[in-house]
Amino acid sequence: MKKVISIIIDHKEIQLEAGETVLQAALRMGKEIPTMCYYEGLETHTSCMMCMVKDAKTGTLFASCSKPAEEGMDIITKDEEIIEARKTALELLLSDHVGDCEAPCQLSCPAHMNIPRMNRLLAEGKTQEAYEVVMQDIPLPSVLGRICPAPCEKACKRKEIDTAVSICLLKRYAGDFGKIESQNHRVAESPIPQIAIIGSGPAGLTAAYYLRKRGYQVKIFEKEVRLGGELRHPDLHEKLPAEVLDREIDVILNTGIQVQFGVDADLAFIEGLQDEFAAVVVATSVPKFEVRSSKFKNQDIRVFPIQSAKLAIQAVARGKNAAFEVDQFLKGENVTGEPKRFNSRFGKLLEPEFAEYLKESNDLDRLEPEVLANGFSSDQVKAEAARCLHCDCRKLDNCKLRDYSDEYAASQRRYFSIHDRQLVTKNIQQDVVIYEPAKCIKCGICVRITSKYKEKYGFTFIGRGFDVQIQIPFGESIAKGLQKTAKEVAKACPTGAISDPTRIK
């Protein structure tokens, strides 16, 4: 029987068996301590230093994963200094983490649309699924596919190699051909709460759509006799035929949105809505500060003014954001709008990296539709969509580095130098793993796993210091190195350095 000792963690005493580490004890108490190089079932490596805690007696910080608990220890697991330490560790790791989380196109799209995923689906001929991906962020794909100036294409990494992927036309195709089966996706009715939307331009329509999709009762108040606002501007007539716009507005309305035409909403009108509606989204050109500064008798209701935008895609983005705000408000959460996540970025590709990125793409030139007004043919769509380099990370939603960078508000730019960064390489072994060394944080989990399972050519550390690399010995293939452990290694890697080659579609 092992000796029982007692230690104090965050002012609470805990009994444990001698030999247990401080980390194990703290986790058992339900403490949240971030770890990246720690992996259950492997010996500790003490590399990432995220699990640092403080010895309350001496004030010194230490890695809790490898420190055996000792009788009488007094440990603090979180305070300002510890947070700063973890943040600094993250920032140092990020300074040598060369890779994009979300793709640059998605980040430069005001509506934050998941472009790479749409591209992958279109390349596979899955138009309907691609359409659904677009609709998660842009409810007017056919419209935007005709009038958007496509900031995404300016950020497209393919542009650095030759020319940008024709994202906007691809989206148009998804909108034009994907929606046919899904026009009547009505949402289950729910009696309350009711939300009023003033104005039916792209912002109002978008806010209405996303609130309705969340199950709210939505009513649009429109001054004119038709919906669409600025989208009906005569300048747009040539590019944007009325029937295209009407069709997409119908899709939105078909979710079960009520409309009242001919309402010229002023402040008094808005004030009058408070008895019937739980929230009001003002998506007209009523000056924002007037709305903000007006007082409403009923303190429970809130007005959400949307700033007018120059570009339709910005209006869409703001409408979507307002939907987030309203939803958060009605749920009693902090009103912060669409959540913004940490995104690792590294800037422009360097020439030696072109070939690496083209490994997941084709080498075609950018395609143009035979007649612009008709858009791409289905064959063209597949080929053009396949030009996408798939810059987005495969571990967007299960990367510890990203999660902690969010949690600790780490800044990558603090120590990152675009002039002196490592080159991106992609070692793609279909059906095994994809290894992108430039994303590696040298935690050594993969080395320990392959060693534990006695892989003949398991991962090893090559070199030392800042230049240390994780490699398969003797330049053997990854497939040879990961005969038994590919799945576990890909899952265990705390970043996107080693990932499962199958993409989330």
Binding site: H45, T46, S47, C48, M49, M52, T60, L61, F62, A63, S66, K67, P68, E70, A85, T88, A89, L92, L93, S95, D96, Y415, S417, D420, I441, K442, V447, T450, S451, E455, K456, Y457, G458, F459, T460, F461, I462, G463, R464, G465, F466, D467, V468, Q471, P473, F474
Partner: protein, 780 residues
């Protein structure tokens, strides 16, 4: 390439198949093939327990190992601290030019030479140093590298024969002592020894030839000391082989033949302090009793270096005749292990490896540690780029250290141990190996030592080039055949060390003071020193000091006494600026604070640390930002890469220092540097990372204005090449020397007219400034 598998089978048969043998096996392979051929490594994996992961991981961790074939000869440029401050970087660049090396290629096109940097060859007093294979060149200047290579090639051809015949000791007219420390050997004492032997043999002189270890006067090597039975002792410094017969004749030749040479040699005595550049090899003689030399030895207290210059390193009888092994005898026969530990504790001695933990306490913990097997390790992995104390102690007094080890083993009840030696110290390796062999033959290592019933076995382990292995947990990982990754402590080695067993780790110097303590008593030892730091400390004094070398001083002596009295001050009329103590873990103490007494605590307070005992004197020409940059590049390069703060933190600090020394710094860089230094100190896993920021923090503390100047694009000392330009003043006499020496033809040949430097072509190699007889070339 074609491998002879039988060679590999022999290696495996010799060294065994265990995973812990990986480093010795790699060393054997490299010795055979001059690099590590992949086929050989694969063969080893297939025929031993060593895995592919282990062999490639370990092979790529240690800098000794090469994965690519190297040239026929290896040129090592020492970039240790002393060499750095004397321009090693310029030498390195000059060799790159000389060999036409481009980009990352470090072997010349003929495959003749491979250029390597080495962090310290331990010849700091003859800096800057270049070593080609076994030949060492000191005081090299950038424009001389061609000569050095030529000299090497000429000597290579003339296969000199050495005469080894033992001198007849029956009719001694005197004794000739030849220094055989590394500095002496490096400066050619082997040739001198052969020449002396030659003269003695041909003339049948009744003179005893004796080899002695380092006397600590490394600035004047090679040394020949003549001790006639009648007459005064004379010490000749910087002796050339061609001087030998004259020297010998002067003292031992029949009267009448006393020649005129002696006087000439004496007349040259005035030159000896001159730290002149190597040009050919200039060597001069001095009289032992000359004043400066007495001062040099004056304030020193030899304990670890007892009988310096008298003892032949491997002569066991002589060591014994000078009280050698009396302490071991006393411990084994008259004292219990507890009594030995008490004596050591009462002496107040603290670990000389750097951290200064009480040796007695550590031994007590080791004695109490429970475990069937316990190990002792002597840490001889001295890797500090400005320190060579341990090397000299091992080379010159191997028995003393071994005696200390035996006493420690007895006191702690340990029966097996390792001496871990740094790969870059081949002479120390040879000496210690030989000494252990002799002690085994004599029964002083092995079973039932001196009939006491106590047994102890000792093995030698050669490191493979990794500074971090001086850290005890990394050192143990290395012996276990792993990459030198440190581990978090606790558990400390005395609880759970080598192969998971309790392990006592002490440094070379610590073991070397033990015999004195046991023999003379704790009180003798603790009467020397300060309140908290007892006894003496050995320092390697180098840099901008007239007399560099190994010194042993009482704790509490002031920095100024060392620099000015023992070291003879800063040469060339330059101003004493600071002392760097403790190497990459230490800091710079400014001249204003040089009256501070030296002990563990005071150095720490001043922002430095005892470290291993490197002491590099800096003068007004040294840029403190450059010094910080120098140490950071060292630690950054030596970081094992395990923990985030050290691996990336040191790199990011170096990025900032790079910007500062190249004029690209931006606002806020100093604050960010301090911030990173602070976090790297707090967040790193082991001592290397935790102390890596010290050189930055101490220079920021005392020389912040220099950092600020760099922030504005100025280097006040003109050391940072990217911030300066070379110009010729009106003092130019048009002698064309600079134009002749300029390696890139940036100075047009224009006799009798004032020369002009084309700053677009200039590579700032400093050659013109050095050769100018009128000091007409300035940096600004």
């Amino acid at each position: 390439m074609e491998l002879n598998l039988r060679d590999l089978d022999h290696i495996i048969a010799d060294l065994g198949k265990g995973t812990e043998q990986v480093i010795p096996i790699l060393q054997a392979i490299q010795l055979k093939y001059n690099f590590l051929p992949e086929e050989a490594l694969r063969y080893i994996c297939d025929n031993t327990n060593i895995t592919a992961e282990q062999i490639t991981g370990v092979g790529s961790f240690y800098s000794q190992f090469r994965m690519e074939p190297a040239g026929e000869h290896i040129i090592k440029v020492c970039v240790g601290t002393a060499c750095h401050v004397k321009g090693a970087g310029l030498i390195h660049d000059a060799i790159i030019r000389e060999l036409n090396l481009e980009g990352a290629r470090l072997t010349d096109e003929r495959g003749m030479y491979t250029l390597e940097k080495v962090s310290c060859l331990g010849c700091c007093t003859i800096a800057p140093v270049v070593q080609i294979d076994q030949v060492t060149y000191g005081h090299v200047a950038p424009d001389q590298v061609g000569k050095v290579i030529k000299d090497f090639e000429e000597n290579k051809k003339s296969d000199k024969k050495g005469l080894f015949r033992k001198a007849d000791g029956s009719e001694i007219a005197g004794e000739i002592r030849i220094g055989l420390g590394s500095c002496c050997v490096a400066s050619g004492s082997d040739e001198i020894r052969d020449a002396v032997q030659d003269v003695v043999d041909t003339k049948h002189l009744p003179v005893k030839l004796k080899h002695v270890g380092c006397v600590g006067m490394c600035h004047q090597v090679p040394l020949v000391e003549v001790i006639p039975v009648n007459g005064d002792v004379t010490l000749y410094a910087k002796v050339k082989p061609e001087d030998v017969s004259k020297i010998v004749n002067r003292h031992f030749a029949p009267p009448g033949l006393l020649n005129r040479w002696g006087d000439k040699l004496m007349n040259l005595a005035g030159w000896i302090q001159d730290d002149s550049n190597w040009d050919g090899i200039d060597r001069y003689s001095i009289d032992y009793r000359d004043k400066p030399v007495s001062a040099f030895l004056g304030k020193q207290v030899p304990i670890a270096t007892e009988h310096r210059g008298v003892i032949n390193p491997l002569d066991l009888a002589e060591y014994k005749s000078k009280s050698g092994f009396l302490a071991l005898k006393k411990a084994l026969k008259e004292m219990t292990p507890e009594e030995v530990i008490n004596e050591v504790r009462n002496s107040g001695t603290r670990g000389r490896g750097g951290a200064g933990f009480s040796t007695g306490t550590k031994w007590e913990l080791a004695a109490r540690a429970e475990g069937e097997i316990k190990y002792l390790i002597c840490n001889g992995d001295e890797g500090d780029p400005g320190a060579f104390m341990d090397r000299m102690l091992m080379e010159s007094y191997p028995y003393r250290m071994l005696e200390g080890i035996l006493i420690a083993a007895y006191a702690t009840g340990i029966h097996q141990g390792y001496v871990y030696l740094r790969a870059e110290y081949p002479l120390a390796v040879t000496r210690i190996k030989k000494a252990v062999e002799i002690l085994k033959e004599e029964g002083l290592i092995g079973d039932n030592i001196l009939d006491s019933g106590f047994s102890f076995d000792l093995r030698i382990y050669e490191g493979a080039g990794a500074f971090v292995c001086g850290e005890e947990t990394a050192l143990m990982a290395s012996i276990e055949g792993k990459r030198g990754f440190p581990k978090a402590r606790p558990p400390y080695p005395v609880e759970k060390g080598l192969f998971g067993n309790p392990t006592l780790v002490n440094n070379v110097e610590t073991f070397s003071v033990i015999p004195f303590i046991i023999r003379s008593g704790a009180d003798r030892f603790n009467s020397i020193g300060t309140e908290t730091s007892k006894g003496t400390k050995v320092f390697a004094l180098a840099g901008k000091v007239a007399r560099g070398g190994l010194i042993e001083v009482p704790m509490g002596i002031s920095i100024r006494e060392i620099v000015e009295e023992i070291g003879g001050g800063v040469p060339g009329g330059k101003k004493f600026k600071a002392v760097q103590i403790g190497g990459p873990s230490g800091g710079c103490i400014p001249a204003e604070l040089a009256d501070a007494p030296i002990d563990f605590e005071s150095l720490k307070e001043l922002g430095a640390m005892m470290g291993s005992g490197g002491m590099v004197v800096l003068d007004e020409d040294d840029c403190m930002v450059d010094i910080a940059h120098y140490f950071l590049s060292f630690t950054q390069n030596e970081s094992c890469g395990k923990c985030t703060f050290c691996r990336v933190g040191t790199k990011r600090m170096l990025d900032i220092l790079d910007r500062l020394t190249s004029g690209k710094a931006k606002k806020g860089d100093l604050e960010e540097l301090e911030n990173l230094a602070d976090w790297t100190k707090k967040g790193s896993l082991c001592g290397l990372g935790k102390s890596a920021p010290n050189p930055i923090l101490s220079t920021l503390r005392y020389f912040r204005e220099e950092y600020e100047a760099h922030l504005n694009g100025n280097c006040p000392t003109g050391k940072c090449a990217e911030l300066i330009e070379y110009h010729i003043t009106d003092d130019c006499i048009g002698c064309t020397l600079c134009a002749q020496k300029c390696p890139v033809n940036a100075i047009p040949f224009d006799p009798h007219n004032k020369h002009i430097i084309n700053t677009d072509l200039c590579i700032k190699c400093d050659t013109c400034r050095i050769v100018c007889p009128e000091e007409a070339i300035i940096k600004r």
